[in-house]
């Protein structure tokens, strides 16, 4: 019974990881950058939510979503695009992304203090059969499913979504055809950044918030998106759920503080035996 309880908790945690990891994969499609500054987006969204929460939850939701979207847009316009224009390497972009995360985390520390912030748990628990599930876990799973299905619909059915998938296949061809590559990159940065907002808010409700949380979620999102198969959205979702489940279920056998390490070990093992990831993008170039 405990194992089943942990499994449900793991799926809920994994669902939130999936939202963060899918954002990273989506941004990689269009910029070819491992967007570790995603951790900064997480911090900005979470701290904005915590700051505005006292006034109104709706205002806090809108504010954190806007803040994340503006930050994503700004990263593309003021950091990635100028570097790409001067044809600098993948590593330069990665360092710029990493540097941005460090700067944002430090600025937040100075502004809000480095101590933990917490939000009152909002809804309590619900009994489903013999399982006790928190409403936050249920909301996490439902929100992740809705967002991921919405993303799938956007990518399959809209003109811009098809353009983003084209970018994932072949950025140079997008250029040669005269399609608006810059617009696609902007959309991906904004969309990817907004996807991390529910993860930031719900995780803050469960675990609280410190400026160090940004690096943690960025590392998770990055590793999960690579273990899933670089640029593979389905792979990112599967490996995120896997990490969440292993993290939680492993606490049956090891101390809870080892959960993340055990989860990462499983992803590492997957990469050793299947270097292209859980579900590789078959035709990415």
């Amino acid at each position: 019974m405990l194992a089943l309880q942990l499994l449900v908790n793991g799926i809920a945690v994994g669902a939130l990881y999936a939202l963060a990891a899918v954002g990273v994969a989506l941004i990689f499609w269009t910029t070819r950058v491992f967007h570790i500054a995603h951790g900064a987006t997480y911090l900005i969204a979470a701290y904005t939510f915590v700051s505005l929460h006292g006034n109104s939850v709706l205002l806090a939701l809108v504010g954190s979503t806007l803040a994340a979207a503006v930050f994503g847009w700004g990263m593309n316009k003021f950091v990635y695009r100028p570097i790409q224009r001067s044809r600098e390497s993948f590593f330069t972009l990665f360092v710029a992304s990493f540097g941005t995360l460090i700067i944002v985390a430090n600025v937040i520390s100075l502004w809000a203090g480095s101590g933990p912030k917490a939000l009152p748990p909002p809804f309590g628990r619900v009994q489903i059969g013999f399982l006790q599930v928190t409403w936050v876990a249920i909301i996490a799973i439902v929100v992740a499913v809705v967002f991921l299905l919405g993303l799938q619909f956007f990518l399959e059915k809209t003109e811009t979504g098809v353009g983003l998938r084209a970018m994932a296949d072949d950025v140079e061809l997008v250029d040669l055809l005269g399609l608006n590559r810059r617009r696609y990159a902007t959309v991906a940065l904004i969309l990817g950044s907004v996807l991390v907002v529910p993860a930031a808010i719900l995780t803050t409700y469960v675990q609280g918030l410190t400026p160090q949380a940004g690096l943690r979620i960025a590392t998770i999102a990055l590793i999960v998106s690579i273990a899933g198969g670089v640029g593979s959205l389905a792979g990112a979702v599967v490996s995120a759920i896997l990490l969440g489940v292993v993290e939680n279920v492993s606490t049956l056998y090891v101390n809870a503080s080892w959960g993340t390490a055990v989860g990462f070990s499983v992803l590492l093992a997957i990469l050793v035996f299947r270097p292209s990831g859980v579900i590789p993008r078959p035709s990415a170039t």
Partner: protein, 234 residues
């Protein structure tokens, strides 16, 4: 006035100029064959006209509008490019690949887009037959047809084709040339980059020969065919 007129065009990659002071033109209802050996600058010329390259000086006038004005490198509306290498997006369906051509051509109504697609399917029946198939599952010839279809649905009046016959069987190339001739007869201007001069001459109205980044011959196909000295260039 020609539909496409290029003059004094110098362009390249970084600080290196790959083409120098190039002048050329393309007319409605004509196929202009752009020929030359590897490294002659044919693809660079095409990329310069299409607004792909940054480092471009000179003049490109398309349909009466100077496209290089103000340092802009946007693709002129009405001009489409079929890049080298059977360029399709492998994870997208044929339908999605083709529809991106409509997007590349600029905003149009749904009805207009559907009409363009219908016309393109008329020229290239394969598009309808394989509409839901992934690009990555197509053969080389089929990919090339999708690439041409994508250019057609953009509403282009001029299509730049960069070595479309590379890697295709002689029969496929022959079929493709027939499609180009049909498009030419429908009034499109076609600029065809080819290494195989004989192949190009089967449909060309004009021949432009490039060597070491410069245009060394610009003549009618008839005149080119009749002058043996020109054949010695190849």
């Amino acid at each position: 006035m020609s539909l496409l007129e290029v003059s004094g065009l110098t362009a390249g990659y970084g600080s290196h100029a790959a083409i120098h002071d190039v002048a050329a033109r393309a007319e409605r209802g004509e196929v202009t064959a752009l020929v030359g050996h590897n490294g002659a600058g044919k693809t660079t010329l095409l990329n310069s006209i299409a607004g792909v390259l940054r480092n471009v000086r000179g003049s490109v006038v398309f349909d009466g509008v100077e496209t290089l004005r103000g340092g802009s490198r946007r693709r002129p509306s009405g001009l489409a490019m079929v890049p080298q290498g059977m360029g399709v997006f492998p994870s997208l369906t044929v339908g999605e690949n083709v529809t991106l051509g409509v997007t590349a051509g600029g905003k149009v109504s749904k009805e207009e887009a559907a009409e363009r697609i219908k016309v393109a399917q008329g020229y290239l029946p394969l598009l309808a037959e394989r509409w839901n198939e992934r690009g990555g599952r197509l053969s080389g010839g089929q990919r090339q047809m999708v690439s041409i279809g994508r250019a057609l649905v953009s509403g282009a009046s001029c299509i730049l084709l960069d070595e479309p016959s590379v890697g295709l069987s002689p029969k496929l190339v022959e079929d493709m040339m027939k499609v180009f001739a049909t498009l030419r007869d429908a009034g499109l201007a076609i600029v065809l980059v080819e290494q195989n001069v004989k192949q190009a001459l089967t449909i060309a109205d004009r021949v432009v020969v490039m060597k070491a980044g410069r245009v060394i011959v610009d003549s009618s196909a008839e005149e080119f065919s009749s002058r043996e000295s020109l054949w010695e260039l190849f």
